[in-house]
Amino acid sequence: MKELSRWRNWLGSRRLTLLAAFVLFVVGLLVLGARLGDLKPSKGGLELAGKFLGAACQPALGYEAADLPSTTPPFWEKVGRSLVLTLRYAVVAMSIALVGGVVFGILGSRAWWPALNQRSLSGWVLLWVLRTVRIVVRGTATLARSVHELLWALLFLTAVGTSPLAAVLAIALPYGGTLAKVFSELLDEQDASAAGVLRSGGARSSAAFFIGVGVRTFPDLITYALYRLECAVRSSAILGFMGIPTLGYHIATAYEDGHLREIWTYLYVLLAAVIVIDQWGSLVRARLSRPKPAREAGRAEDSVAELRRKRPRSLVLRASVVTALVAVAMGWMTEKQWQSSLPAERRQANFERFLHEVIPHPVRESGNDWSEFGPWLKERIWPRGMVALHRTFHIGTIAILVAGCGALMAVPFAARSLAGRDALGVPGGREHVSGLRAGAGRMLRMTALVMRSIPEYILAFLLLQVFGPTVWPLVLALALHNGGILIRLGSEVVDNRPSRAGQVLVVQGGSRRSSFLGSLLPESFNRFLLLIFYRWETCIREATVLGMLGVLSLGSLIDEANTRLFYDDMILYVLMGALLVFAGDVVSDLLRLRIKGGAIGSGVHSS
């Protein structure tokens, strides 16, 4: 027994985690055949990169092309329209996803279950019914988000043709699934003490759940939904690469036309939209978690009406609610035609043809003889499918390792509590570099904000033109985007958790670096790991589509099948991708549970 526990201790140690990460990194590089030498841009790429960066300083303010047909709308109208369209699809999709996410989130949680008497038969039966519902709901939600929104778009577009509805549903499905999962977790982790009090005071389980758990969870739900809205704007933009005229569409066409300055205009507009939503989200979050005191304090002798008049109110929150409602209403109402412009019969026929062609072709051609299915499947999965799947996994994994290492190095410079003059709140005395350091911290946070605001897909698209068709552009795009996110989340971990040990080190004369390495990092190691695993899952998910840009992985197989109109193959590879994401999801969940349980290292307090 003692031997076993020592072994397990060692297994659960940080050393092993780091070793495993390193091994994965090396194996991944070998599998992908990625050499560091490939990171040198080609000559043409370098030239292009130079021109491209030059264009960044002077984004187009009008069309770059000289001879335009007279029917062309003014440049800014075109930009504005594509921005509005991008936002509209994002908002409408989020409104659907939010409703679905809340319903599925509740059904997928345990928190709403009434207290059941398992000794009685009816209680026992009801418990099993509830458990089954929960598993089915969670499975459905996981499946919905295991398929990337670009792939949903691809499926919908092939099945029913280009239409706003297809674009909106492509975003709403996976986002609804994600919201459902997160909401379930929030509900289940919520402190149920208030609900217990209500129930013990005679309230029905429904009321106790709604007020005691639901209301408490509401701020977290809103905060998360705003973050997802920001993601939805990015997703909506990249749907442009599927031919829907959002911002991504114009970026792709501007590139094809060689109008580099126009690309930057669209990119800047997208960045601005994302950053505005990001900042709005932080503001709302701050108001929800730390309400501002009322301008005029109530007095003991005040009447109810007077107290009501003086009650603390938040202009930000009120304005946010109105803005959100108006945006959703506008988003729904300003679209005149959600369906594609094809007549209903054509749509029906297209859909039926799609359903027919999804059936593997040997089966289809032999008159539904499913004995042909096995050989067909084997031929596709081995070796092509498996190689692509393997590569997809490693692209995502290497990217998150790079992002994680980069973020860990950046956090001590980006975290506010370390970048300020007084490290960790300990008065540091005058020094001439403090301004420089604070400035560097601000720059780093800004850079991280920009990095995470650009969609991976667009980053990968641009990097591919510079570095050529190796896996590096994909890895770098994922690493940059996720690095930006990890720097922000990692800094929050350091800032929100005042470290006594770190302060002691600073008070004893230690440097910022030593207090970070000596106490902050080891103390928060598991929280960092949690974050990295959380993003790892999303990296894998993203990796399944980046291949569509033309680098061998599941995405490239899907894209190839699509262009050759082999819908049976396409569905197969989409499903393989979903399976990979599903597996990544489960593994990531298990690892995170283990970390929260304190199996790795020590000193984790999940909150």
């Binding site: 008497n117 709604f210 005691g212 009322a294 107290l307 009501r308």
Partner: protein, 260 residues
Amino acid sequence: MPRVLPVVLLKIDIQLTDAGVSFGGVHALRGVNLSVAEGEQICIIGPSGSGKSTLLGLMNGRLLTATGSVEVLGQDLLQLTARQMRELRCGLVWVPQDLGLVPNLRVLQNVLCGKAGRLGFFGLLRSLLLTRMSEAEEVRNLLERLGIPEKLYERTDTLSGGQQQRVAIARALFQDPVAILADEPVASVDPGRARSLLELLTGVARDEGITLVMSLHHVELAREFFPRLIGLQAGRVVFDQSADETTDRQLRELYATGEE
């Protein structure tokens, strides 16, 4: 020996007869006989794991006894339907250690939640979202009595710990209960605040004639504020007597073999 109460004079609120609970084969509580009369104030003491929370849980049906019977307000808890159980619980208040307030609701709304059982789901929603003037007045009066009327519309989590305790008491009184069951309500507060909470709670309970059953960790506080003490050890009642009768030696023995 359980104390024999003059039943003819007093109405019995809570009556446990040979009650017992076990979790996974471990007896959390065994052979408990206990009766609490209307308006009585009793305190349950004993080391951690001695079954204090379990005993309180039996009294409002959060736990059901496996042996004997538990009668509350004249009704056998084992015989009640879900609906009857809810009706019964409308007369009982439960105060957990962390008070169980909803932090992001206003004080007014938290207090209104006291009527959650009587109002039903939609009634409660109406009351929270479209509060009537009369309800707000009633809550304000309660808060005034507890010394924090000006906090009526504040968000609950912006209040200090002591003020939040008062909100919890206001919610309890708003429920208009027959009995209050409190599980170590002062376990996580400093001595001064603990004392003021106990003064408030025992005071209002006495004024309103509300039965009060509380479990406490601090033996001194229990002796000071409660006329009757029940000593629990390893799931058994070892004494049930007036605070004056309780000797230091009894208390030493009570905690000597506990898990602490």
